[in-house]
Amino acid sequence: MKFSDLLTSCRASNDLSPLVQSIPYASFLNLRIDIKGDEFTCILPYDQELIGNPVLPALHGGATGGFLECAGLFYLLWKVDTKTLPKTIDFNIDYLRTGQPRDTYANVVMVKLGRRVANLRIEAWQASPDKPIALGHCNFMLGA
């Protein structure tokens, strides 16, 4: 199946799991995507392999960062009618709280959707959405 066809069928069914499976890093992280109406949530299930500091223990900053980037990417693939994968131009992460050894959720806000560039804000949280553990701010170059 061509990637563009996969995109079309995932968007039509609002089920992005075949898309997650097609991207090795996303399936390595075991990402899940929950779409309810207009609400998009990306979930990073806890795994002990995601730990960066075994003493605390805390999630690895790179795992949280990679998760935020994936969340932004899948949000764009769901929301914007592209035929190819958007490319990350830059990514800024603020780490606000220690990532606890539990599931992490991410919600995405499209700050601006231009013709070529999309600007996103991504919030990762665990206990409650009003207590984010990390904020991502990024620009993606949109494909054709």
Partner: protein, 157 residues
């Protein structure tokens, strides 16, 4: 560091073991290439499971984030007289070009400033030379143990 050991031996004996203490770094197969007070280089071998775009087989950007975050941490550890727990406060990455499939990616980092509470780091990810980077990055790390174990003379404010 003991004087009888070459820098390479020090990397092998101390940091290789150390690197395996971090589950996520171990899972990605990050290995210290050189760990020196003036800068660290970590190596990430190409792995199919870390691909972000199945069409081009280019590594996912999140992997570059993980590589640089780990390299940044190492560059701070080697500058400290003893290990201190710390957390990433802020990390910014500019993606300049895609990583080439099948090639190992190196992540280099230099800690350019240490204060009792914070560490400021710069670095980049590359294949052959840091002059031709895949991504450039800056980060700020905060020590999470509260009080400083650094002696005053070790820190230039």
């Amino acid at each position: 560091m003991t004087e009888t050991m070459s820098p390479e031996e020090e990397v092998d004996q101390r940091w290789q073991k150390f690197a395996h203490g971090f589950p996520y770094s171990r899972e990605l197969g990050l290995l210290p290439q050189s760990v020196r007070p003036d800068g660290c280089v970590l190596k990430l071998d190409y792995q199919e499971k870390l691909v972000g775009d199945p069409n081009t087989r280019v590594l996912h950007g999140g992997i570059i984030t993980a590589l640089l975050d780990a390299a940044f941490g190492f560059s701070i550890f080697v500058k400290l007289p003893e290990l201190r727990p710390m957390a990433t406060l802020d990390l910014r990455i500019d993606y300049l070009k895609p990583a080439t499939p099948d090639k190992a990616v190196l992540g280099c980092a230099v800690c350019c400033k240490l204060t009792p509470e914070l560490a400021f780091v710069r670095g980049c990810a590359y294949h052959e030379s840091p002059d031709d980077p895949i991504a450039t990055a800056v980060g700020i790390y905060m020590f999470t143990d509260g009080s400083s174990v650094l002696r005053n003379e070790d820190v230039t404010r």
